[in-house]
């Protein structure tokens, strides 16, 4: 169901959260987690998922090098050091949804995506690497690439190992192109070297030409990607 050691990551997140938020909030969080799999309570779980933004304080995560490395071991390219504690709590909540029944699990996660506000959406996309049945979320990830909302797009494109692993070539190419269109920090896209391909390079060259004709500038990182293809040959 999971392509990484779920129990290890779950335990790690649990203790990180416990050491960061106060016991009252921690107990509240666990109460909400219990609703994840209870019959007829998923609406309440969703509300709890939303209300995390009010209950949990606004702060970052204090993660030591040992834990950060452990996370990278579990899921290559995955890092939570930029996450807020709110985001981590929400992701931990998602991890409490039982993945035993694939249909139920998929339906619940899709419901969360469907009704998500901006921050919830950014959280869900950042959480793609930890979801069960990873291949299933390829379409949802492609939908995320189409988002107009800056914070959401950032969560899909940057610091996220999922797209490089699972997006089909066409969708991957759209991701990279859109990153250029929206002036993203290309260095934060994971898997550029692994996924560089001829169609992408052609599209990037055409894009550079288009910019030149319009007297508009082109980011130098575009040529770095073109070079990657030459190197791979």
């Amino acid at each position: 169901m999971f392509n990484y050691n779920f129990n290890t990551l779950n335990t790690l997140f649990y203790s990180l959260i416990q050491s960061t938020i106060d016991s009252e909030t921690f107990n509240w969080l666990q109460e909400k987690a219990a609703l994840a799999n209870e019959n007829g309570s998923f609406n309440k779980f969703k509300i709890g998922f939303s209300i995390v933004s009010r209950k949990v304080p606004k702060m970052g995560i204090d993660i030591n090098d040992v834990d950060a490395d452990a996370i990278k071991e579990l899921i290559p390219g995955f890092s939570i050091s930029r996450w807020s504690i709110k985001k981590l709590c929400r992701v931990w909540l998602i991890m409490q949804i039982s993945a035993a029944d694939r249909t139920a699990y998929v339906s619940k996660i899709e419901e969360l995506f469907r009704d998500a506000d901006m921050n919830e959406l950014a959280t869900l996309y950042a959480a793609l690497p930890i979801l069960a049945y990873p291949a299933h979320w390829e379409k949802q990830c492609a939908v995320g690439v189409r988002s107009n909302i800056g914070y959401v797009l950032d969560a899909v494109i940057m610091d996220n190992p999922y797209p490089a692993e699972y997006l089909k070539e066409d969708a991957w190419n759209q991701l990279v192109l859109k990153a250029f269109f929206t002036d993203k920090d290309i260095s934060r896209i994971i898997g550029l070297e692994k996924r560089v391909n001829e169609n992408l390079v052609k599209a990037l060259r055409d894009y550079a030409e288009e910019r030149k004709s319009a007297n508009r500038e082109v980011s130098s990182s575009l040529w770095e990607i073109v070079d990657l293809l030459k190197q791979n040959h």
Partner: protein, 327 residues
């Protein structure tokens, strides 16, 4: 319904036809607690931030024609907490909303029942500062039923209520809206009665509710009349808004009203309460609105960021609308 409105009438009431001079309101900040940005363009956002509007509330309403299915409501609510909120932020304006089943569409009972079930999924989202805009339109039994149901929801969620008062039979409809709110045990201090006029203001204020006034050409309040209201009643629990929508309306109604109040000698403190602070106080009762979240930095239009015209802080690049050139 239209009356002709000539420039001569303008001159009669206020001497010369007076344009808004941004210098008159320089340094003042505004809050518009009722504006339908989904129907407004980015030109409006640009003008709003230039005029000093820091934050707004967009109430959930209809789209100009009836929705035919639940998905339409869901997608609309999603846009209020998602795309429209984001679009607003790109212009430095903090966007909040109220969520609810509006009075017109409460008359589609089959759909209304479904919307009532959907509401709890949205009222706890970030950016939602109340249940609204709800109330009466024609004062039908269906409108009555869903107004009451949403009052209960507001009580349960501890959210302020933004009440739309009818345009036809307004005096009775407003009284009735207040009676029902009291009947259901709402604290008047948690209820904002909107679209007031000279006929409704006294009772709304006497009974302890917030009184919002919509400054909207032809069909609602004018701002000279608003000046008289504040001279008569003071500024306690009074707020103004534009309710700007797809009709002939003005997204700068709030700053214009402030400018007029200043010119007509209203005290600066009262102007600030009526065009900024009172609305914040009323809706901050939701626990979801914090003045500290508003952007206050002065924007230097000549600044560039990393060599392109995207200004610092994610502000939108400035377009010279008067130029024939587009590039």
């Amino acid at each position: 319904m239209c009356r002709s409105h000539s420039m001569d009438e303008d001159k009669k009431s206020f001497g010369e036809n007076t344009p808004l001079n941004l210098n008159d309101i320089k340094g003042m900040h505004f809050f518009d607690p009722h504006i339908h940005m989904t129907s407004r363009t980015t030109d409006d956002y640009q003008a709003m931030i230039d005029a000093g509007i820091l934050a707004i509330i967009e109430p959930a309403f209809w789209l100009g024609q009836p929705r035919t299915g639940l998905s339409s409501f869901r997608d609309y609510y999603n846009s209020l907490i998602g795309w429209e909120r984001f679009r607003s932020s790109q212009f430095g304006i903090k966007h909040y909303c109220t969520i609810g089943l509006n009075s017109r569409e409460a008359n589609n009972i089959e759909l209304a029942e479904q919307v009532m079930e959907l509401l709890p999924s949205f009222i706890y989202k970030e950016g939602v500062v109340g249940i609204g805009e709800i109330g009466f339109d024609d004062q039908t039994p269906a409108e009555d039923k869903y107004y009451r149901a949403q009052l209960e929801l507001a009580k349960e969620a501890s959210l302020p209520v933004q009440v739309h008062t009818p345009h036809r039979d307004k005096k009775q409809g407003t009284t009735r809206s207040m009676d029902i709110a009291i009947e259901h045990g709402l604290d008047p201090a948690m209820v904002i009665i909107d679209h007031n006029n000279e006929e409704t203001a006294k009772e709304v204020l006497d009974r302890g509710f917030w009184a919002a006034f919509t400054i909207y050409p032809f069909t609602k309040m004018g701002n000279e009349r608003m000046v008289e209201m504040v001279k008569h009643y003071g500024s306690e629990r009074i707020m103004v808004n534009s309710a700007a929508d797809w009709g002939i309306s003005d997204p700068l109604a709030v700053p214009k009203t402030a400018a007029l109040m200043k010119a007509m000698g209203i005290d600066a403190k009262d102007i600030e309460l009526v065009t900024y602070k009172n609305a914040i106080t009323a809706f901050a009762q939701s626990g979801q609105l914090d003045e500290n979240d508003f952007t206050r930095t002065e924007i230097d239009q000549s600044q560039k960021y990393e060599g392109n015209t995207i200004l610092r802080g994610g502000q939108q690049p400035r377009v010279d609308k008067s130029s024939i050139i587009i590039k």
